[in-house]
């Protein structure tokens, strides 16, 4: 008999007023009892609408059935068939707009907590895993993967499972990409990301850190080095600024820099770790996406008294996940909606002292389909702040494009690919993730990595036939 409760098992969480002072994980995870209870809410529908909502097609009802039966190791195996990073996805995927949105249970009450169950299974496996590596027949074909974020790790993992000799080239000193430098510890513990990376390495994937492709090797040089195909998953690493006066004052950060200092370089442990970050008493974070929420919640944890989210549209248009907005509110972040910065004010010696904003009203829908915000005349006002974090988006890093003749990109920098395969305009070169789409989600990047891996396999196999 399925569990007919209308609501999901509640996720145990740290108390908002305690967690907004630490970097420990906010959501604590289900117990075994809760997981099995929740798993029984799944109706095991024949047509599995949820699976269609998953960019990597996790076999959701199947793994949930195994959870209900307490067969967690098999449940993990089922998820891993199509998803290389279940512990990450269970935590950061926007399930509410993907699998869970299509869940039949959501028609009356809440959907099955698919994400929370995925997380439970991954965490169970990490705690109870036995080291076993299934050996696959080696294909003796080398593939290079540029970038070790979600797209690159997924592509590399899938290709390794097929027997390819895969090397990932990572520019930073640790692998993981945005999972390490972008998403904060309290939302995605770095030790967990490391464990997920280790499971990819166990498949035989080699990871070379401190390798900036475009500098140390161009793509053409990688091909000369014997790599028969290349996947570019270099992410969206170029921060956008607003182009308003005062953006180069001391105390203005891109969200990339702010979060990298805190997450990757562990500035929250300064001076035990050497990299500092400036927080100040009052902080304005400009933007309404997950990155803005992450930056705001970090600032609060690092001791800022007042942290403002400054966003030019209303809450309905915010691109951030509902859960993140909700968590931010609970932690005391102040939302200044329909507010647009026009200028950052500085002290005489060049430090931020305030941010001038206009109030906005929503007009007609724009090209994105969202109502366009227009300034209210005479509504300019200054909010006193010491730090401003600009979190209005990132575009793809131009380093590879500028060193790769024949690689076509969009005007804004995104690499142009064939939708179904990730094939670029350059032979043997594939791409996916934020490097193609601009800043998007972890799971979409993973989906793209997956498609490209299949296409690379097909390409290299047909090559084989020719020989």
């Amino acid at each position: 008999m399925p569990n007919m409760s209308l609501n999901k098992q509640k996720m145990p969480e740290q108390d908002p007023n305690i967690r907004n002072k630490n970097f420990l994980e906010v959501a604590l995870g289900y117990t075994e009892e809760m997981a099995r209870e929740e798993a029984q809410r799944c109706l095991q529908c024949k047509n599995k609408p949820c699976v269609a909502g998953c960019p990597v097609n996790v076999q959701i009802p199947e793994f949930i059935k195994l959870v209900a039966e307490g067969r967690f190791e098999e449940a993990y195996g089922k998820i891993r068939e199509t998803n290389s990073l279940p512990g990450v996805c269970g935590r950061v995927c926007p399930q509410e707009t993907q699998c869970e949105q299509l869940c039949v249970r959501a028609k009356k009450g809440e959907s099955v907590a698919i994400g929370r169950l995925e997380r439970y299974v991954a965490d169970w496996y990490m705690a109870n895993r036995k080291n076993k590596v299934e050996s696959v027949e080696a294909k003796n074909k080398k593939v290079a993967v540029v970038g070790s974020g979600p797209a690159g790790l997924t592509c590399a993992g899938d290709l390794a499972k097929l027997g390819y000799d895969v090397t990932i080239f990572e520019a930073f000193h640790v692998p993981g990409g945005v999972l390490m430098y972008g998403i904060p510890e309290f939302r995605l513990p770095k030790s967990l990301v490391q464990k997920e990376i280790d499971t990819v390495k166990e498949l035989g994937v080699k990871i070379m850190t401190n390798m900036v492709i475009g500098k140390v090797f161009s793509l053409d040089e990688l091909i000369e080095e014997g790599y028969e195909a290349i996947f570019i998953g270099s992410g969206a690493g170029l921060p956008s600024f607003m182009g308003i006066p005062g953006e180069n004052l001391n105390g203005v950060y891109s969200a990339n820099e702010f979060l990298t200092r805190i997450n990757l370089m562990k500035a929250y442990k300064f001076p035990d770790c050497d990299t500092p970050v400036k927080i100040g008493k009052n902080v304005a974070v400009v933007g309404g996406g997950n990155v803005a929420m992450d930056a705001a919640r970090c600032a609060k944890r690092l001791g800022a008294e007042n942290v403002y989210i400054v966003y030019r549209r209303s809450e309905a248009e915010m691109p951030a996940r509902l859960e993140e907005v909700h968590h931010a509110r609970e932690e005391g972040i102040i939302f200044k909606l329909l507010t647009n910065p026009t200028r950052i004010e500085g002290t005489e010696d060049g430090w931020v002292k305030g941010i001038e904003c206009s109030e906005m009203v929503l007009g007609e829908p724009d090209s994105s389909g969202r109502r366009r915000p227009v300034p209210k005349e005479g509504s300019e006002h200054v909010v006193d702040v010491d730090t401003v974090v600009i979190a209005i988006g990132q575009s793809p890093n131009p380093l590879i494009k500028s060193t790769t003749p024949g690689l076509e990109t969009q005007k804004w920098g995104g690499i142009i690919v064939e939708e179904e395969t990730g094939a670029t305009s350059k032979a043997a070169v594939y791409a996916g993730g934020d490097a193609v789409t601009g800043a998007a989600t972890v799971i979409l990047a993973m989906g793209a990595g997956k498609k490209a891996a299949a296409a690379i396999d097909k390409y290299l196999s047909s090559d084989n036939i020719k020989v």
Partner: protein, 289 residues
């Protein structure tokens, strides 16, 4: 892991290290930089490449001990390893097709000016190098610069080497004596680069300066290294580090360089305190500091 294969003390606070980094050495060009990180807790610190040997697979860096990371690096010995060493980063200097160039190095900047002078010299340009230091005992790379230059001028602020003055004084004299340069390269403290640029602007001589602002990743990702050049924001790591000296907003750059002064001091104090405690332990003292 990157092994230190040679170490030299150039002056009391400036050291040279040759590091085994074959991938970096393979592609390095004058004007480019590397980022190093000493250990797991370390900060990512950019340093301009002073020399490289593609055959040996080594890259030479010259650094002044100005903060915790460079001080720790300075204490390392031949055979020790640095955790991370990434590069070559930034755009290489374009040094082709110049006939007569003045290469100016101020203090530690001489270490960065050296590969440029060497390259220009090897390309057949006439190179007048002008290097300046606070005093005689701080002079570095005099012999190397002499070999990479047609003429070398060494000035000290206090005149202790018998040639008192600033690099700008010498440049001014040379220009007024009728030397016509088609390029001036100025590398050193921001204030020096500012004044060289102001001077050459009067003479209308094209001037390149090398910026070394605070940065994290060095690949265009963080935007911390923003420099205003010709009224536009540039990222020193990917658009530079060389920029047109007549277009750079040096005052803003000087202000931005001071962003973490307080934190740097705190970090150093903590480091000093740890060193004292280690020494006490080594000598059997009460290492509870």
């Amino acid at each position: 892991m990157f092994k230190i294969v040679r170490k030299e003390v150039l002056n009391p606070s400036v050291k040279l290290m040759e590091i085994e980094a074959p991938f970096v050495a393979r592609k390095a060009e004058p004007g480019q930089f590397i980022i190093f990180r000493i250990d797991e807790e370390g900060e990512r610190i950019p340093l301009t490449i002073a020399d490289f040997d593609r055959k040996k697979g080594t890259v030479t860096i010259i650094f002044q001990e100005v903060g915790k990371s460079t001080r720790m690096l300075g204490q390392m010995k031949v055979g020790d390893v640095i955790l991370d060493f990434v590069g070559p980063l930034g755009v290489a200097s374009h040094l082709e097709n110049y006939k007569k160039v003045a290469v100016i190095g101020g203090g530690l900047g001489t270490a960065i000016a050296y590969p440029q002078a060497k390259k220009l010299h090897s390309l057949g340009a006439e190179v007048d190098s002008i290097i300046g230091f606070r005093s005689k005992d701080l002079i570095i790379l005099e012999e190397e610069m002499k070999q990479a230059s047609t003429r070398l001028f060494v000035a000290t602020d206090d005149g202790s080497n018998g040639n008192k003055g600033f690099v700008t004084d010498i440049l001014k004299r040379l220009v007024e004596e009728g030397n016509s340069y088609d390029l001036v390269i100025a590398i050193g403290p921001l204030i020096m680069m500012k004044f060289v640029s102001l001077l050459t602007k009067q003479y209308g001589i094209k001037t390149l300066v090398s910026m070394n602002p605070v940065m994290v990743d060095g690949t265009g990702m963080c935007g911390g290294c923003r420099v205003t050049v010709g009224g536009k924001t540039k990222f020193a790591c990917v658009d530079g580090p060389d920029f047109d000296g007549h277009e750079v907003d040096f005052d803003e750059a000087m202000r931005r360089q001071n962003m973490y002064k307080k934190e740097e001091k705190k970090s150093e104090e903590k480091h000093a305190c740890r060193l004292v405690s280690q020494e006490q332990k080594a000598y059997g003292g009460e290492g509870n500091a």
